[in-house]
C-alpha cells in the first residue's frame, strides 16, 4: 500500500469534514443534502481507510508483491509530476506578470527542456506557434487574454 492510497480519500474526507462544520450556520433546507453527503463521505472514507489498513496489516507480503508485479495496475510516481505541478504554478505566476501569450511562449520552451527534450530548433518555433494560436483563439472566441501586470504598467 502506498501513501497515495490513503492521501486521496484523506483529502476528500477532510474537505467533507470542513464542509460539514460549515453546514451548522445554514438553514434546514440548505444544509440537508450537504449534511447527508458529508456524513456519508466521512463514514465511507473511514471505512475505506480502515479496510485498506486492515488488508495491509493482514497480508503485507501479498500486497507488496502485487504492487511490484509486472503489469500491476498502479503506476509508480516518477517524481516528474512535482516538476509538472511546479511548472504550472510558475506558468500561472508568469501569466499574471507578463501576460498569457508571452508566458505561454516561455512555458512552451522551458517545459520540454525540463522534460528532457533539448532540440531548441523544434521547441522555439512550436512555442511561438502555440503563443500565436492562443492569441488567435482569443480573437476568434472573443476571450480578452490577460496582458500581464508588468506589461500593462509599462504601457501605462
Amino acid at each position: 500500500m502506498k501513501y497515495l492510497d490513503l492521501l486521496a480519500p484523506g483529502i476528500i474526507g477532510i474537505i467533507a469534514g470542513a464542509l460539514l462544520i460549515m453546514t451548522a450556520k445554514l438553514g434546514r433546507t440548505a444544509s440537508l443534502f450537504p449534511k447527508i453527503l458529508s456524513l456519508t463521505i466521512i463514514v465511507l472514507v473511514v471505512y475505506y481507510i480502515v479496510e485498506e489498513l486492515y488488508k495491509n496489516f493482514k497480508q503485507p507480503a501479498t500486497l507488496a508483491s502485487k504492487e511490484e508485479a509486472p503489469g500491476a495496475k498502479e503506476a509508480p510516481m516518477s517524481g516528474r509530476w512535482e516538476i509538472m505541478m511546479a511548472s504550472m504554478a510558475v506558468y500561472l505566476g508568469l501569466i499574471y506578470l507578463i501576460g498569457f501569450a508571452a508566458a505561454s511562449f516561455f512555458y512552451g520552451i522551458f517545459l520540454p527542456y525540463l522534460g528532457g527534450y533539448r532540440r531548441m530548433k523544434v521547441t522555439i518555433p512550436v512555442a511561438l506557434g502555440m503563443a500565436a494560436l492562443l492569441v488567435l483563439i482569443g480573437k476568434v472566441f472573443n476571450i480578452p487574454l490577460p496582458a500581464g501586470l508588468l506589461i500593462t504598467s509599462l504601457i501605462n
Partner: protein, 510 residues
C-alpha cells in the same frame, strides 16, 4: 416538419459549417493522440464555446465528440495503442491488419464503420426522442429525484470492484456542486464570503482540471512517444467498399451499440467489446479473429459510434447523462440555454439544429477522416514534452475563458492535482463528474417533491414510478455483492468473456 427545416437551415449556415469543420479537425487530432479521448476533447473545448451562439457551439461540440471517437481508432490500428478506452477492441484485428501492410484498408473500415455506427445511433436518437420525452412529461419531481439517484448508483456499479470508491466520488461530486446558492431559497453555501463562488464552482473549470490537466501530468510523466507509422494511404477505399458488403455486421454492431448506449453506465468500451465477441461467435471463421479479420475490426467500430450517439438518448430526453462525456455535453447544452429533458423541444428550432448538427458531424469526420488520414495519423509521432505545454496552455485558456477570472486557472490547477492523485490510485473519476452534474437535479427535485407532498417523505414510496426506480437503485448498488451469491457464471459465456477482458472498468472515461 417545419422545425426540422428551420433546424437544417440553421445548421448549414456558413459559420456553423466552419465551426463544424474546425471541431472535426480538432477532434481527429486529439482522438489520434494515445490516451486522449472524447471526454478530454469536449471538456477542453467547452469553455471556448461560451461566446458562441448556441447552435454553433453545440454543432462544434458534436463534431468534436464524433471525430474524437473515430480518431481514437487511428492509434489503435497503427501503433496498437488504444487512443481511448472505446478503441481497445479495435486493436485486436486492426493492428494485425496494419502488420500485414493493410493499414489503409483497416483505416477505411474504421472510418466507414464509425460513420455507419453514428448514422444508426442518430436514427435511433431521432426516432425515440419524442416518445421518451412524452414519457418524461408524465414524471414528477419524485421520479426525477429517483432517476438521478438510479443514474448515480448505476455508475458506481460500473466501476466494478470499486463500488465504495465510486460512491465516495459520486457523493463528493454532489457535495461540491452545492457550493454556491441553494436552488430553493438562494442561500449562499460554502462561499467563504467570496463572490467568485456565489454561482458555484464553474463546471468547465472543474472538469478541465480533473481531466485535461491531470492527463497532462500523466503524459509528462510518461514522456517519450516517437512512434513509427506505417504506409497507410493505399487501400483506404477498398476498406470503405468492403464495409458495405457486410450489412449484417453493421446492423448487429449498431444495435448492440445503441442498446448499451441507452443503458446508463455501460459505455463504448463495453459496447465495442461485446460487439466484437458477438461477431466472433456469429462468424463462420472465428479462428481468423485476432489475426486481422475485417469483421473483427468493423463490429467494434460500428458499435462504438452508435453507442456514442445512443448515449445522448437519455441525456437529451430525460436530462440524465449516461456517461461522463454526455454529462459534459449536457452541461454544454444547459450553458447555452437548452434544457435537456421534457422541455427539450420547447426551444423552437434549436433542438432540431442540434439533431442536424449531430448528423452533419458524422459526415464531417467521415469525409475529413478519409481525406486527411495520412496527415492526422502523424500526430501520434509528436513527442510528449512538446505536446504537454500545448495541452496545459489550452487548458489554462479554457479555464480563463469561462468568466475571465485568473482564480479559475488556480481552481483548475487544484482540481488537476486532485484528479492526478485520484487517477494514480485508479479511482473512477467520472463518478465525480456525474455527481457534480446531477447535484442540482437531485436537490431541487427532492425539495420540490417534498413541497408538493407537504413535507411527506412517503411521496417517494407511494408513487409507483418513484418506488420502482428506488428499488432499481438499491438493486444496482447491492448487485456486485448479490451477483456471486445468486449466479454462478457459466465458463465461456459472453458476459464472462467481457468481464475477463475488463470492459466496463474504465467505461465512464468514454
Amino acid at each position: 416538419m417545419d422545425m426540422w427545416w428551420e433546424g437544417l437551415q440553421t445548421a448549414v449556415q456558413g459559420i456553423n459549417l466552419l465551426y463544424l469543420l474546425g471541431g472535426t479537425v480538432f477532434g481527429l487530432i486529439i482522438g489520434a493522440l494515445p490516451g486522449l479521448g472524447p471526454m478530454f476533447a469536449v471538456t477542453l473545448a467547452l469553455p471556448l464555446t461560451f461566446g458562441l451562439p448556441a447552435a454553433t457551439a453545440i454543432i462544434m461540440l458534436s463534431a468534436i465528440h464524433a471525430a474524437t471517437a473515430y480518431g481514437d481508432s487511428l492509434a489503435s490500428i497503427l501503433i496498437n495503442t488504444p487512443g481511448g478506452v472505446g478503441s481497445v477492441a479495435s486493436c485486436w484485428d486492426g493492428f494485425p491488419l496494419s502488420q500485414q501492410g493493410k493499414s489503409g484498408y483497416a483505416l477505411g473500415i474504421s472510418a466507414s464503420g464509425s460513420f455507419l455506427g453514428g448514422i444508426i445511433g442518430w436514427i435511433f436518437l431521432v426516432a425515440t426522442a419524442p416518445l421518451l420525452i412524452s414519457f418524461a412529461l408524465m414524471m414528477g419531481p419524485a421520479e426525477y429525484f429517483m432517476i438521478a439517484i438510479l443514474a448515480l448508483s448505476l455508475l458506481s456499479m460500473a466501476s466494478q470492484g470499486q463500488t465504495i470508491k465510486g460512491v465516495i466520488l459520486g457523493a463528493f461530486g454532489l457535495l461540491l456542486s452545492y457550493i454556491g446558492r441553494d436552488p430553493m431559497w438562494g442561500v449562499p453555501r460554502f462561499t467563504f464570503g467570496s463572490m467568485f463562488l456565489e454561482d458555484g464552482l464553474p463546471l468547465a473549470v472543474v472538469f478541465i482540471g480533473f481531466f485535461a490537466l491531470s492527463q497532462a501530468v500523466v503524459l509528462f510523466e510518461k514522456g517519450g512517444s516517437v512512434m513509427e507509422v506505417r504506409q497507410m494511404k493505399k487501400g483506404v477505399m477498398s476498406g470503405v467498399i468492403d464495409v458495405f458488403r457486410r450489412p449484417i455486421t453493421v446492423i448487429r454492431g449498431g444495435i448492440i451499440g445503441v442498446f448499451l448506449g441507452i443503458m446508463p453506465a455501460l459505455g463504448i468500451s463495453t459496447a465495442s467489446i461485446i460487439a466484437y465477441l458477438v461477431e466472433k461467435r456469429s462468424s463462420r471463421h472465428p479462428e481468423t479473429f485476432g489475426k486481422g479479420a475485417p469483421a473483427g475490426l468493423l463490429a467494434p467500430e460500428v458499435a462504438k459510434n452508435s453507442c456514442l450517439v445512443g448515449d445522448l438518448i437519455p441525456t437529451l430526453t430525460l436530462g440524465i447523462p449516461g456517461s461522463g462525456v454526455t454529462a459534459i455535453f449536457m452541461a454544454a447544452l444547459i450553458m447555452h440555454g437548452i434544457q435537456p429533458g421534457p422541455d427539450y423541444f420547447s426551444k423552437g428550432s434549436l433542438p432540431y439544429a442540434v439533431f442536424v448538427g449531430i448528423l452533419l458531424a458524422q459526415f464531417a469526420f467521415f469525409i475529413l477522416g478519409l481525406l486527411f488520414v495520412g496527415q492526422i495519423a502523424k500526430v501520434v509521432m509528436v513527442p510528449m514534452p512538446i505536446l504537454v505545454p500545448v495541452i496545459v496552455a489550452l487548458s489554462f485558456l479554457g479555464a480563463f475563458a469561462m468568466r475571465g477570472f485568473m482564480i479559475d486557472i488556480l481552481i483548475a490547477g487544484l482540481f488537476g492535482l486532485l484528479g492526478y492523485i485520484l487517477m494514480k490510485c485508479k479511482w473512477p473519476l467520472p463518478c465525480f463528474v456525474l455527481g457534480f452534474v446531477l447535484g442540482d437535479i437531485v436537490e431541487s427535485n427532492f425539495h420540490r417533491a417534498l413541497l408538493i407532498s407537504k413535507g411527506s417523505y412517503l411521496t417517494f414510496l407511494t408513487r409507483p414510478g418513484s418506488l420502482i426506480l428506488l428499488i432499481c437503485a438499491i438493486l444496482s448498488l447491492t448487485w456486485p455483492y448479490l451477483k456471486p451469491l445468486l449466479f454462478k457464471p457459466r465458463q465461456g459465456s459472453i458476459l464472462v468473456e467481457v468481464d475477463n477482458l475488463g470492459a466496463g472498468r474504465d467505461d465512464m472515461d468514454d
